[in-house]
Symmetry: C2
Subunit: 270 residues, 2 copies
Amino acid sequence: MHQDYRLLTDDEHEAIEKQTLRMIVQALQQYSKEAKEIFEVTPAPSKSEVIVLAEDLTQYALEVAEVYPINKRYAGFIDYKRVRWLPTPAGLFPQVLLVDAKASTENGRDTLQQSQLPMDAEYRKADGTVEQLRAGVFPHMVMASVTGQPLAAVTTSIFVHFYYRDLVDDPAGRIRELLDIYVLAVPHNRLKARYNPNPDATFFGAGKHSPARGEEPRIRVYFTRLRAACPWRLQQLTFAGSVNGYTLPLWRDIDAAGNETRDPFLYLSR
Amino acid sequence: MHQDYRLLTDDEHEAIEKQTLRMIVQALQQYSKEAKEIFEVTPAPSKSEVIVLAEDLTQYALEVAEVYPINKRYAGFIDYKRVRWLPTPAGLFPQVLLVDAKASTENGRDTLQQSQLPMDAEYRKADGTVEQLRAGVFPHMVMASVTGQPLAAVTTSIFVHFYYRDLVDDPAGRIRELLDIYVLAVPHNRLKARYNPNPDATFFGAGKHSPARGEEPRIRVYFTRLRAACPWRLQQLTFAGSVNGYTLPLWRDIDAAGNETRDPFLYLSR
DNA sequence: ATGTGGCCACCGAGGCCTATT
DNA sequence: AATAGGCCTCGGTGGCCACAT
């Protein structure tokens, strides 16, 4: 048992991200019913109301599903961030959990600011050119332990994607419909060799910025490719087929034979 | 003892806002040292970083100073919002606390969106014309009690104003300096007769919007006038003269003779 | 100097329109 | 129809400038 994530094997590091994501998915499942209600009926003083809704709902869902907090804070553009002790079979690790909420009418990709990118990315565009963008998320945050020795808190990056569509003349008076909640665990930079060894093996794609206008570069994460690289890193909580107001409680994983699985899980009400 | 704020006298309602503000001031005082550190050294990927800093710091300061929570949430543009039970001598009242964070290089006024305005406002501009803006904050939120009877949670509006200035070539490597933290309690709409009986008696002034461009109307709250109307509604936590990194712990109030007072108060570290 | 008004600047977050395949 | 690329819109937040007192 140790406390330094840098001594973990890659598989152990993957496991940390997996268990982190699993808990977040459980929290979102549990909160999905209320999230849907609030998301669909909250009036829109402006078009950008959905952005705030996604942020608030993510916070409400996650703040009740925390672990042993570390008394350390920092401020910035990440929507939800907590420094905490994460218990794992390999040891108790200090972790900086970073969660960003997204609201979108698309359901196949997410756009990341460089400051939200945890891995040095490189990818080839359709026209053959290769582009790259360095990670803007620090791999860990160093804290001073009581004895003075440095303690590094690993950074884990999660994205919660609220897929919705606007409604007009809805009989129930809803303003929009929340269709799915996607949850992505984008790998830590140390896993680059596994997930983006070269420009042709990656789930990254061209960003949403406009090069012609000289905008800050952004980058996209494609759901299908992330899922192909590692099934459990792309979770989907869907309201389609739901009969009780909650999303369907299914966890995507991979079995020993390498096949993708979808396991139902139990959850409690809030 | 009752639970309906509408049965309170105006003085009792004032007392509710006063005790709410008092606790928030204590929380900000206690967090002022860390707030200053984070605010001054957090790098600015963009100019708008201060906005996010103010929001995050306000949340960090207040979330540890809460009272008996009510399991009810809603989402929207207000930075910090909590529904809770507030204990007072007149009874235990359900309350919707709304706090908005502001970052500014000015220290004499705050701009409010209509959605942040708790009172129907009317004021006369320098050129003699009278303008008005209706409250955009609901006076209370109705919830259904277990027995089915409606229960109204009073709304209380607080603004936390981070007054700062940018720094260049600071020897200590700071990017900006946090000078003061102002905290305002803008009165509930039912107190309009006391605070804004007519366009000439008010702490409101023209908003920051551009009429010429047809922008959404906003409105300003002037510190000096709010303070003149009710001293304790304008609190100032200043770093000027501070020797320990915290702001000076002073609470502004009014004594029996009607004179403004500044009482020091004790606080704990976090 | 301070108190008031108010024009704009900036920039974060996505909607959407186009090409391809 | 689905995948990619990328231009541009919208709107929240204040910086700042200009007068007036």
